[in-house]
Structures are given as structure tokens and as C-alpha cells.
Symmetry: C2
Subunit: 344 residues, 2 copies
Amino acid sequence: MEDQLSDRSKRILEAVIEDYIATAEPVGSRTLTRSHSLELSPATVRNVMSDLEEMGLLVSPHTSAGRIPTDKAYRLYVNSILEVKKNLPQGNRDEIRRRCRMAGKDLGDVLKETSRLLSSTSSYMGVVMAPRLAANVFHQMEFVKLGSHRILAILVSQNGTVQNRLLEIQEEIPQEELVRMANYLNGMLQGLTIAQVRERLVAEMQSEKVRYDSMMTKALTLSEQTIRSDGAEIFLEGQANILDQPEFCDAGKMREIFRAFEKKSLLLDLLDRSMQAEGVQIFIGAESRLLKMEGMSLVTSTYMTGKDTFGVLGVIGPTRMGYGRVIPIVDYTAKLISRLLETE
Amino acid sequence: MEDQLSDRSKRILEAVIEDYIATAEPVGSRTLTRSHSLELSPATVRNVMSDLEEMGLLVSPHTSAGRIPTDKAYRLYVNSILEVKKNLPQGNRDEIRRRCRMAGKDLGDVLKETSRLLSSTSSYMGVVMAPRLAANVFHQMEFVKLGSHRILAILVSQNGTVQNRLLEIQEEIPQEELVRMANYLNGMLQGLTIAQVRERLVAEMQSEKVRYDSMMTKALTLSEQTIRSDGAEIFLEGQANILDQPEFCDAGKMREIFRAFEKKSLLLDLLDRSMQAEGVQIFIGAESRLLKMEGMSLVTSTYMTGKDTFGVLGVIGPTRMGYGRVIPIVDYTAKLISRLLETE
DNA sequence: CGTTAGCACTCGAACTTTTTGAGTGCTAAT
DNA sequence: ATTAGCACTCAAAAAGTTCGAGTGCTAACG
């Protein structure tokens, strides 16, 4: 399986891929020799392309058309041909920097803006997943009385995430008691991750010493309700950008794509998966069978929001996307955001 | 200008509009007489249609095609022909009811879900604008210390809206002082609208008696920072639905539409405008030149979240939309949401 | 007089046919 | 090993047909 590709074959494959990225049209031997200054005749190129086709790196949509790179080809390209410019063009750099300066906003706003940023600099779709709540570190909890039977619970994590939850309660609880409850909980839960908090609460509720203290019981019940459910948030921006891609210009496909993104669950799975490893990761076409609609790729990177809580951000575009350009953007943005969000 | 339309003309216009709504195709005299049981010959219908065309209620895309209703025709239809079924079909009613039961979520979640709901029951786009912050009634403010130079400010309104803002501060403020500041402010600002709060803060900061109390100054500065900027939130859901509309199936138009909705500012203007009057309002096609892309209409209604704070919700669809069906949906949803959000 | 049947005319949509040209694979010459 | 040359392919664009739902107009009808 270790494709023993000659240097020349690689050069040609690269040329095909780059042409296809640029034009979205099947590329033929002729056009290749013209645009890229390979010192070869069309006929030679044809032979090589024929080999590449045999190896499953190219396909032709029909006999008398040019050829198109397969997912496998992109994989090869990304892994061993493409050399990612370590240095993002200064222009991009500046823009990202500039738009990252956004003090006075909460985490959600920053992430949304980041998603926008990714979308506009890459000209594909930007996606950012907030760190999963469970991994965050508990910082503080507050209960605010809204009415006689409604309490607003506020859960603050150390990285600045804030979760609000409206709780309906049976019996009225006076404000002072709420404060005492919060104090009690804040003392107990300091520094734990939310996941740990959850365990702790369950354990505590079953322990003997709490069972007969109604205040504590109430407090535990309330807080348990507060941290229940961990709907990781996803910010997806720039959907309109993919309408510009010629391969999706037909209405049917577009609909499919939009529908798919409307329920974010599969995207969530995919992003969750890319959180396994650190750094930039690339999912090409059908490799992520989650994005089962064909022709889409995903470039992600993890970012940090604290000691050991991270989220994922990235760019979604057509398989035929400018990896060389996108990868540094994703990488740089992730690093910058990490720095920005670091709770020093 | 008071169109003196004979009863028959009205019936025919209605038939044309309804046919066009159903099929999205220009409708001709023949088809009309067949589908609707008007007791008239095609020729007669033709004559009438010709009149209607003269009055600017119908147009034909070209000589030998059927006719299409103009914006003016829709307006007439909505105002004086269409009789809105006061009673939403029980099915819809039930679904709306069911999905409105969503306790334990904050306002944002509820509104987002409502937008989804509007979108799916109408099969167009649902849109919900959160009440403008300025009109909300202040309830409570909290400061939570996140780090030595970072404070999380939480602003709770009486209707359950929660705003978080991250503040960077120069000099460290101990937690106890933050609590005292919050108490001071909560006492002072109780029951005012945010707009009034803003004024009050400015006034207070200039008053003599505060000027030399650094704690108060700090408190005022902090809170002033917190309520600054009033980015009304808009929840727009179901964009994929409009891809199903045949009139937008061409890629160019779609792109335009998606681009337009990506920056929500014009939508915001429009919704803001529809907040002038209470109850259901209808903007047809170019009437709202804000949605300057043609062929879109908007049905809105205000909803209440408290004594006198309201937001707007509605449905955006093609001008050729089922007004008779959509209007009750919007109306009913608005009422239900108002009831749900009422701070009793 | 309002309504209707009849008729010639229009013109986009859909279907065919033709043309075009970028592409291929093969073979023979360099 | 490379390349020039050639016959062949086939989608896409252009040109040409057919078809039918529409129209407007006129004349007849109750």
C-alpha cells in the first residue's frame, strides 16, 4: 500500500490537484502541460495519469473528460506532497489579530466571532465548538430569585463560561436561604470539574448526614438540576459561502447540505472525535462518514480555554479546498484564541 | 384609488392568488375554470383578468403565459378578501402547545425553540427577536470575580433575560467589596427599565455626593460598562425551508438571500419597525424595501415578556405564501409565548 | 348588454439534432 | 522512455422542432 510514487508522478498529481482546486473542472493532459510548466508532452502526462488512475488516485467522470482527484489522492497530497506554509501571509495574520481583540464579551460571543472570522478568512464555513461543559472547572454558582416559584441558577466555570438555567420550584425559598445554599455549594465544589461535580452531588445526596437536613437537600437538588444536560454549543458561520462553490450550485445538493447542518448532531460527533488528538486534523470527504454527504472536508484544530479544557474549531469546505491556505489559518487561529482565552 | 371591485372580480382574483400560491406557476383562464368551480367560461374569466391586469393587480411574464398576482394584489387579498381562520387546526395547536412546554431553559433557549417551531409549522423561516434590552426591567446585578483583573458581571432582567459581560479592570477589587457594590446598585436601580438605569447611572456619576466615594464610583463605572450596548438578538431558523420554494431554486437568488440574512441588520430594522404596532402585521414583497430582495414577505406579531416589554416574532416566506395558514400560526404562537413568559 | 364560442396568433418549455472541442488510447517514430 | 500523430468518444453548447397553454379579438347568442 505504500505507494511508490516517482517524483515525477507526484509532481503531476500535485499539478492535477491544484488545477482542480482552482477550477473545479476535470483536468486533462493538455491543459496541465499548458498551465504548469512541466517539461513534458501531453502524451507523457497522459501515461502517468493513466497509472495514477490505476492506483485509485484519479478518476474520470466519463471517457472523454479530464480526470478528478479521489479522496485518496487528497489524503496523499495533504500527507506527503503539500508543504504547509508555516507562515500565514501577513495580511491574514493581521486580520485575525485585529478581529481577535474583543474584550468585554463573554465566551459565547468570542467563539461566535471566531467562527465568523474563520469563515471569512477561509471563504468556506467556520465552525467552533465550545468546550464541553463536563470538562470545565467549576468556579461558582449563584441562585437568583425571579418570582415566588422561579429561580435563576447561574453556573460559572473558571474559563468564563456562564450557564443560566431557569428552575421551577414547588415551595418558596427565601433569598437568604438561597445565598446560604450557594455558599455551602461553592465551598464544597470548588475546583472540581463539572463531571466531578456531578458525581459528588449524587454521592452527597445519598449520604446519611445530608438526608435529614432539608436545606442541604434542596441545595443539592437545585444544583443537580442546574448542571444537568451538557448541550455542547456549536457555532457555524458562513454557510452562504458554500453556495459559491460550483459543485454545490445545484439546488438539490444545497438543500441536502443545509438540512444536514440544521441538526448539528452529526457535526458534533465529528468535532468530538477530532478532539481526541491535539493539533490540526484533516478529514477528507467520505473518511468522516458522518458528513456522509459527499464532497465535504473538514480541517480542525483543538484550542485551549484553560489548564485542560479544550474545544475544537475548524473550517468546513468542499473536498476540493485550498488546504495549503486553510491549514495555516486554522492553526494560527486556534493558537491565537487559546492565548486569548487563557486564564493566566 | 378605492378599487371598486365587483364581487365576481374579487372571486376571480382570489382564485388566481390561491392557484398561484399552490403551484407557483402563472395561472391562465383555462386552468382556473377547471380547478375552481366558477360558473364561468374561460373567455369571461379572460376579460376579467384583463381588467385586473389594467388595475395593476396581475401581470403576465410574457404574452402567452398565464398571470401572476402583484404585491398590490396580495395586499388587497390579505386586507379584504382573505378571511383568516380564527381557529388554527387542532393539529397545529397541539404541536405548538406541546413544543412550548419547555421549562428549565432560559429565555434565549425558549426563543430559539420558538423560532424553530414557527419554521416547522409554517414550513417557511421562523424568526424571533428578543425584547430589546433597553425596555426590560432591571431586576438584579451580580459581580463574580474570575481572576485578579477580571470580573464577570451578570445582569438579570425581570423577564428572565440574563446578560453576561466580562469586564477587565485595572486594580483588584476584593470579593466583599463586589458584593457591597452589587447591593448598593440593586437597591438603587430596582424596578427601573434598563434605559432608565442607563440615565440614572450617568446622572449619579456626576452627582457631587458620589464623586468622592471611590467605591461608588467604581460600582457605577462597572455597571455602566455592563449595560452598555444593546445588541438585540435575532433567532432565525429554518433557512433550509426556503430552498424548497421553486422560485428560489436557482443558485444565484439563493445566494443573495442567504447573504442578506447573514448580516441581520436589515432584518432587525424591519422587525423593529413592526414593533410599532401591536398584533399581527404583514409586510408584502417590496413594501418593506428593507428586504429588498424581491419576492419575500413577512408576517409578524408582537409578544409580551412582562408588563410592557415586548419582542417580535414571525414568519418569513415567499410573497406567494399561504397567508391564510401562516397568519393564525403566528398569532397563536405569539399569544402562547406571551402567556408562557409572563412573569405572573 | 354581458357572456360565450371560435379562431388565429404567440412564445416559452421540452425535445431532437448538429456541431464543437477537449479529452482519451493506441501505435509508430524519435 | 518520450512524443507526434491519428482515430475515436462524448458532454456540452447551439440550432432547430414541436407542442400546448395562453392570449386577444370578433361575431354570435340569450
